[in-house]
C-alpha cells in the first residue's frame, strides 16, 4: 500500500483548470521529486496535501486514511514562500508553530533544542527573525518542518537560497530522514536534486501528470537505447564500425586523450569512445564484435539527464491536455 495516495484530484479557479484528474502514489520511505514548469499546478497540489486547499473532486489518502485535520502532526511542510514573524524571537516562533501542529509544549521545547543544536543555531533562540539573513531564516523554517518528526515531509524548493555548506547539510538531513522511514515529497527546479536524491519522480505539466515512476525507470524510458563503449586502441588503428548487417547505428566516435573525464583510470592508454544506438537485444553481439577487434574497457547504458527529460517531456506535450 502506498503511503501517500492522491486519487484523481481536480482543482480549478474560475475558468482556469489547475489540476485535472491528477493521481499519484508515493511508497513509504521514498523520495518523490515533483517537477513541472512554473504554473503547472505543483503548489496547488502541495497545498491540497497540506489541507490548505480542498480539491474540487478526488481524494487524498495518507497511510490508508483519508486526509483530515488530525494528520497535521504527521506532515512537515517547508513552503516555497518562506515567512516568519519578523518581530518574534526565533525560539518562541519554533514553539508556537510546532504547537499549532499539535505538539505539546515540552515536546516542542525538546525538539527545538535538539534541532537548533544539530543545525548549529543554538545562539539564535532570543534573536528576532528580522535580525537573521535570508539563508538563516530558511534554516529556522526547515526546523519548523522537521521538529515534530513528521512521517511525510514536503519541501518546496528546499535548496534555493542555501549556500553550498547548508545545501550539503540539507542533503544529509534528507537522506537521514529517509533512512528513518520518512516519506518525502520535494518540489524542485534543480535537476541535480532529482538525480542525486529522488527515488521517484513525477512531472506535472498543463494540469496533468506527464510522466511518473522510479527515477531509473523514467531515465531508461527516455534513454533512446544509447550505449557508450570505450575501447583501448591505438588512434592510428581505430576500432571498426559495427558490421553493416547489425540493426544498430554509430552516433559518434572520438579518441580521448585525457582520462580526467572518465569514471575509471586508463593508465595512459589511448581510448576511443563510441556512442551507438542499439536495442538491448543487440548489446551482447556488439560487445563480442568489439572485443574481437580491440579491448573494451568500459561499457554503459547512456541515460539522459533529467534536464533533457524535462525539456523533452514538456516540449512534446504542447497540445493542451484540457480544454
Amino acid at each position: 500500500m502506498s503511503f501517500l495516495d492522491i486519487r484523481s484530484v481536480s482543482k480549478s479557479y474560475r475558468h482556469h483548470q489547475v489540476l485535472n484528474e491528477v493521481s499519484l502514489k508515493i511508497q513509504r520511505g521514498h523520495i518523490m521529486g515533483l517537477l513541472g514548469p512554473n504554473g503547472a499546478g505543483k503548489t496547488t497540489l502541495i497545498r491540497m496535501i497540506n489541507r490548505i486547499l480542498a480539491p474540487d473532486s478526488g481524494s487524498i489518502w495518507l497511510d490508508g486514511v483519508e486526509l483530515s485535520p488530525e494528520h497535521s502532526l504527521r506532515i512537515g511542510y517547508l513552503p516555497e514562500e518562506r515567512g516568519l514573524y519578523k518581530k518574534m524571537k526565533i525560539g518562541e516562533q519554533l514553539l508556537y508553530l510546532s504547537r499549532l501542529r499539535g505538539m505539546t509544549s515540552s515536546d516542542a521545547l525538546t525538539a527545538a533544542k535538539k534541532w537548533m543544536t544539530r543545525l548549529e543555531m543554538q545562539s539564535w533562540w532570543n534573536k528576532k527573525a528580522e535580525e537573521l539573513s535570508k539563508g538563516m531564516q530558511q534554516k529556522v523554517q526547515l526546523v519548523v518542518a522537521l521538529m515534530h518528526d513528521p512521517d511525510l515531509l514536503i519541501l518546496d524548493e528546499p535548496f534555493s537560497g542555501f549556500d553550498p555548506m547548508n545545501a550539503q547539510m540539507l542533503k544529509e538531513i534528507i537522506l537521514e530522514r529517509r533512512a528513518a522511514g520518512t516519506t518525502l515529497l520535494i518540489s524542485t527546479h534543480r535537476m541535480e536534486t532529482v538525480e542525486d536524491l529522488c527515488t521517484d519522480v513525477v512531472l506535472i505539466h498543463r494540469a496533468g501528470v506527464v510522466l511518473a515512476g522510479p527515477t531509473q525507470a523514467v531515465r531508461r524510458q527516455y534513454n533512446g537505447n544509447q550505449i557508450e563503449i570505450h575501447c583501448a586502441s591505438d588512434p592510428a588503428s581505430p576500432p571498426p564500425s559495427p558490421p553493416a548487417h547489425f540493426p544498430v547505428r554509430l552516433l559518434s566516435s572520438d579518441s580521448l586523450s585525457s582520462s580526467s573525464s572518465l569514471p575509471f583510470s586508463t593508465m595512459g592508454e589511448p581510448i576511443t569512445r563510441l556512442v551507438i544506438e542499439a536495442a538491448p537485444s543487440e548489446w551482447t553481439a556488439l560487445i563480442e564484435h568489439y572485443n574481437r577487434h580491440s579491448r573494451i574497457v568500459y561499457f554503459a547504458e547512456r541515460l539522459p539527464s533529467f534536464q533533457d527529460i524535462f525539456i523533452k517531456a514538456v516540449g512534446k506535450n504542447d497540445q493542451p491536455i484540457y480544454n
Binding site: 489541507r51 490548505i52 497535521s72 513552503p79 514562500e81 515567512g83 514573524y85 518581530k87 518562541e92 504547537r99
Partner: protein, 437 residues
C-alpha cells in the same frame, strides 16, 4: 483540535510585551488628560479682546453695549467718516482702524419709528459666531427696551412676567416616581458610546494589521497548513480583544491612581494660572453630593451587563469584518478603500448619537439601535435613559444574528483571501470569494 486559545494566547502575550503597548498604556491616561485639559486651558488663554468701533448716528444704542471679557466697545473716533456715513470715500480711514488685530466696525442704522434697524459689522477677517451673536443679542435687548418705552410699558412689569421654570423629569415605575436623571444619563450614554467607538477602531484595525502582517510576512501559508482559517481568525480576534480590555483596565487603574495622587498632593488647588484668568469657581464643574446620589441611583445592575454585551458583540462584529479586509489585501495601503464601507456605519452611529441623546425614544433612536452595525453604539447611548425590554431583546437578537453572519462572511473571505497575492481586490471580487467552494 481547537487551536483558538493557542492563537489568542500568542496574540495577547506578544502584543502586551511590545514596546508600543507598554508606552501607550503608560501614556494613555496622560494623553487623555491632556485631551480634556488642553481645550479648557486654551479657552482661558484665549482672552485677547476684540475692539468694536460703533457707528451709531441715532445715538440710541449708547447704553446697549457693555464691555465683556472678550469684547470692548468704543465709539467710532471723530473724523473717521467725512459725511457721517460709511462709504467708499472713507475707506482708507476705516481700513486703518481695522488693521489693528481683532477690531471691527459696527454700523447701526435705525430705519423707522418702530426701531427696525439695519446692523452691519465690518472686519478684516470674517467675524466669529461669538461676536455676531453677542452683538445681535445686545441690539435685540436694546430695541426691546426702546419699544417698551415707546408703548409706555414699565420695564419692571414686563420683567416680572418672565419666569425661569425648572423641569424635573421623572419616570413612573411600579414603586412610584423616580428621578430620570436626564443629564446623568446623557453623560453616561455618550461616554460609553465614545469608549465603544474607540475600542472598535483601535483594536478592530489592530486585527486587520495583524492579518496583513502575517500575510505580507508570508508566514500565513505555514499557519493555515496547521490551523483552519476560521480558528486563526477567531484566535486573533479574541486575543486582541483581551489586549484591548487589558489596556483599558490598565488605563483606568493608572488614571485613577494618578488623579488620586494629584488630589492627595493638593496640586490641583495650588496651581496658580487658573485663578488669575478670571474663570470663577462656579463655572467649573464641581462634584457635589447630588452627582454622587445620581450615580448611585442609576440602574447599574442592568446597564453594566448590557453594556458589556454590546461592547463585546459590537467589537466581534467589526473585528471580523476588519479581519476579512486584512486577509484580502497585500499591504495596509491597499486596505483604505475596503475599510471605508466598514467605518461608515460606525461614524454614522457616533454622529447620530447626539440626536439620539436629545430624543432617546424617537424613531431614529429606535431604528438605529435595531440596525446591528449601529446598535452597539446607539443602544448603549439609550440604555441609561431606560429602554423597554422587548426593544433590547429584539436589538440583541439582530446583533447576534449579524455577529454570526459577519463571522461567517469574514471566515469565507479570509480563507480565500490569505492565499491571494497581487490581486486588485474590489467588493465584487470579495463577493465571488464568498461563494467559492
Amino acid at each position: 483540535m481547537n487551536k483558538i486559545p493557542l492563537v489568542a494566547g500568542r496574540e495577547f502575550f506578544t502584543r502586551i510585551q511590545s514596546r508600543t503597548f507598554i508606552i501607550m498604556s503608560l501614556l494613555g491616561p496622560l494623553l487623555f488628560g491632556l485631551f480634556i485639559l488642553v481645550p479648557v486651558l486654551m479657552a482661558q488663554w484665549d482672552n485677547e479682546s476684540t475692539t468694536v468701533w460703533i457707528h451709531d448716528p441715532s445715538g440710541n444704542f449708547d447704553s446697549a453695549f457693555a464691555n465683556t471679557d472678550g469684547m470692548k466697545f468704543e465709539k467710532l473716533p471723530q473724523g473717521t467718516l467725512s459725511k457721517g456715513q460709511l462709504n467708499a470715500k472713507d475707506s482708507a480711514n476705516i481700513r486703518e482702524l481695522l488693521q489693528e488685530s481683532e477690531t471691527g466696525v459696527l454700523s447701526l442704522q435705525v430705519l423707522d419709528s418702530s426701531w427696525n434697524t439695519n446692523i452691519a459689522y465690518f472686519s478684516e477677517q470674517s467675524a466669529g459666531l461669538q461676536i455676531t451673536q453677542h452683538i445681535e443679542e445686545a441690539v435685540n435687548d436694546r430695541i426691546y427696551q426702546l419699544r417698551m418705552t415707546q408703548y409706555g410699558l414699565d420695564p419692571q412689569d414686563i420683567e416680572s412676567l418672565n419666569t425661569e421654570s425648572d423641569l424635573k423629569a421623572y419616570v413612573w415605575t411600579e414603586e412610584g416616581s423616580q428621578d430620570s436623571h436626564t443629564e446623568m444619563a446623557t453623560m453616561l450614554g455618550f461616554g460609553a458610546a465614545l469608549l465603544m467607538y474607540m475600542f472598535i477602531f483601535l483594536y478592530g484595525s489592530m486585527v486587520m494589521r495583524g492579518v496583513i502582517e502575517e500575510k505580507a510576512g508570508r508566514v500565513m501559508e505555514l499557519l493555515i497548513s496547521t490551523t483552519s482559517p476560521f480558528q486563526l481568525m477567531m484566535g486573533k480576534i479574541l486575543g486582541i480583544a483581551s489586549v484591548g480590555l487589558f489596556q483599558f483596565v490598565l488605563w483606568i487603574l493608572l488614571g485613577t491612581g494618578i488623579s488620586t495622587l494629584v488630589g492627595a498632593l493638593g496640586l490641583s488647588e495650588n496651581s496658580p494660572p487658573s485663578t488669575t484668568t478670571g474663570m470663577t469657581d462656579s463655572e467649573l464643574p464641581t462634584t457635589n453630593p447630588d452627582w454622587m446620589q445620581m450615580l448611585g441611583s442609576m440602574p447599574w445592575e442592568s446597564i453594566i451587563p448590557l453594556f458589556l454585551f454590546y461592547f463585546l458583540c459590537g467589537y466581534f462584529l467589526y473585528a471580523a469584518l476588519f479581519a476579512a479586509v486584512g486577509s484580502a489585501v497585500d499591504s495596509e495601503g491597499d486596505s483604505q478603500q475596503l475599510v471605508m464601507p466598514i467605518s461608515m456605519p460606525i461614524i454614522l452611529a457616533i454622529i447620530t448619537s447626539q440626536f439620539v441623546m436629545q430624543n432617546p425614544h424617537g424613531s431614529l433612536a429606535f431604528w438605529m439601535s435595531m440596525f446591528p452595525l449601529t446598535s452597539p453604539i446607539l443602544m448603549v447611548v439609550r440604555l441609561p435613559f431606560g429602554v423597554p425590554f422587548w426593544e433590547i431583546a429584539l436589538s440583541i437578537s439582530f446583533l447576534v444574528a449579524a455577529f454570526v453572519g459577519s463571522v461567517w462572511i469574514a471566515g469565507r473571505i479570509f480563507r480565500i483571501g490569505v492565499l491571494m497575492y497581487g490581486q486588485k481586490v474590489s467588493l465584487g471580487l470579495l463577493r465571488k470569494w464568498l461563494f467559492y467552494r
